[in-house]
Symmetry: C2
Subunit: 373 residues, 2 copies
């Protein structure tokens, strides 16, 4: 649900000769080696590899190994991000838990917290958790999906560096603040809704700038707070919430969702929130918070019957009459699921610029570079 419009688009993209193929195992191993080299514990480094490669397999390149150097390694090497944090429980009840991430990587503590939430939900039916003083944790969907094998519905969210303006505002006040929900089915792939609460991610503005294309209306405003379709002006301005400028197309709803995420993550965890969250200009580590939830399906009905009904539900949408010119109707998480299967079979594509970056990183850290499939 992030950058992908359709399977056709996703697969067409991969035939542009801009991609080199690797494998899941090689990429995960590489991420682990790199992070261990800069001081991260092996078990934590493995989890980061899991999350990043899952993103690449799901077609969410922006959240995959492309970020290894800039988001994680460089910040550890410059001493801004703690490679050996003391992840610890700050508060706990039978159905809630709050972790303090001690300015460490977000992925390991995110998985720790979601697993604690799942264990609590296994015992008591439902549970919630949060993490404060953390950093970027990759794709929110990864954590929500951890609930699936337990016949639970999973939820995950995070606040993030501020790029977006509130409705009627012009200041960057909100991150892309994604929300994710994962719900199991039987034969159909699980329903996995994982979406930024801004209309588009900031990376999309950068792509349009590079391609010298105008933005669509409703994506961004300029520094003065006026709508703009100029990528340069937008990059100096702010992203708009899902629903776009003003309220005519429901921008207040996307703004409400973005603020909801900042509250559930930042205020609830006792972490940073609002203007305490970093911007592009004032980078600040350890100011990100996450939120998780899970509940057992059998608290409502027999999970087998539920999952069989999920198949019927998802198929009904996929089989419903299509708009003119459309080949296919999707449900959330379907494209990502199919890409994962395809990439596991045929190799995981890495953009050549990212590939070059990883090669440089390997040389820099004096670790072997053997990623080709």
């Amino acid at each position: 649900m992030l950058f992908l419009d359709s399977m056709e688009d996703a697969l067409a993209e991969l035939t542009t000769n801009e991609y080199v193929l690797s494998t899941e195992a090689k990429l995960k191993n590489f991420v682990r080696e790199v992070l261990e080299k800069v001081g991260v514990e092996r078990s934590a480094a493995e989890i980061v590899g899991d999350v990043l490669v899952a993103a690449d397999e799901r077609g969410v390149e922006s959240h995959g190994v492309a970020r290894l150097e800039s988001y994680y390694v460089s910040r550890i090497r410059s001493g801004k991000l703690n490679p050996k944090p003391n992840y610890h429980v700050a508060r706990e009840t039978e159905t809630t838990v709050v972790y303090d991430a001690d300015n460490g990587l977000g992925h390991p503590v995110g998985k720790l917290a979601m697993e604690a939430v799942i264990e609590k939900a296994r015992k008591h039916g439902s549970a919630f958790g949060a993490v404060r003083n953390s950093n970027h944790f990759g794709i929110a969907g990864y954590y929500a999906m951890l609930a699936l094998p337990h016949d639970m519905i999973g939820m995950a969210s995070t606040n993030s560096v501020r790029y977006g303006a509130p409705t009627y505002g012009k200041e960057v006040m909100l991150g892309t603040n994604p929300l994710a929900f994962a719900i199991p089915a039987n034969k159909e792939p699980a329903f996995v809704l994982d979406f930024a609460t801004t209309t588009v991610p900031r990376g999309k503005l950068e792509v349009y700038k590079r391609k010298e294309k105008r933005l669509a209306e409703g994506w961004a405003i300029d520094e003065a707070g006026n709508p703009t379709t100029d990528p340069d002006a937008a990059l100096r301005g702010a992203l708009l919430p899902l629903g776009g400028f003003g309220v005519e197309h429901g921008g207040h709803k996307g703004y409400g969702l973005g603020l909801l995420v900042d509250i559930l993550c930042g205020v609830l965890s006792g972490g940073a929130f609002g203007t305490g969250i970093p911007t592009m200009k004032e980078a600040k580590e350890g100011a990100i918070s996450h939120w998780f939830g899970a509940f057992r399906i059998d608290g409502f009905r027999d999970p087998a019957a539920f999952k069989s009904d999920m198949d019927r539900e998802l198929r009904a949408f996929k089989d419903s009459p299509r708009a003119p010119g459309q080949n296919r109707i999707y449900v959330a998480g379907e494209i990502e699921h199919e890409l994962t299967l395809a990439h596991r079979k045929n190799g995981v594509p890495v953009h050549y610029k990212v590939w070059d970056g990883l090669q440089k990183l390997a040389a820099d850290l004096q670790i072997p570079f053997d990623l080709a499939r």
Copy 2:
């Protein structure tokens, strides 16, 4: 968050001489009398009055007493909706509950379920609930807000008559399927996000048709599945999800949220879902489901500190720099809160057409009509 763009718009609307003023007590009492007259138990009738008048006070006229006759009374009188249902628990654990509404009014069973969820969350920290075989329950925000006095975060949702198409589709497959979240603050009004997952509600198309205005782009498609700004064509076609047509403005996100709601309400409760939900053409009572959740803030941190930080969070957004020409930045639920205070003080406005309808209903049922403030 429903029809309201700003306080100025809301208050300007009321000075058009199209409104007659009543009071909260009189309106609630009238709803109770009407429903008792058609066979509803007094305690249940009182709850419906509470929910409907709360909507009118919050400025959500479309979900207030305007619907008393068409949505509830006429369906009871024609034998389609059960005035004396056997609301009963279909499944229950320490942190979950499912009610069967026996084709009764949605409001009393909705309140029953949310109160059970809150009681379970009080004991165990977090809880979820659902209701199946129900009917329209008014504004979702009402139920989410029941969590507020308990220092909990409340969630509520419902599926609804199908008006909306999925992304790339043209068939009505989804209701306006609202989602509501309520989070308490200290001095600031609570954050109450209550929004339809379609860009606009169907009622908005009807208003535009009546005023002979063109729709905004991204609100609706025609019967063939093409975007349209013609209210007539749109009313024969389908609403679009939040984010509009296709994926360019994030329509797949609104579609994902709408489907999420149908799953959480319909599939999870064991009720009707997908194409089992009624459309305008095939009305069907007892096919609506609701979903509720609540969790204790003190499972995360001290509620007083949380609420004090909520004040800071909400104020930061309200005080942030405004876009050109804007007088004010709002947070979710703020306009509704201020309108409630104003209407409790100055009288609850009822549109004259609604007023006339209520007067006719009173005559019809031979009950006194004394609603004027």
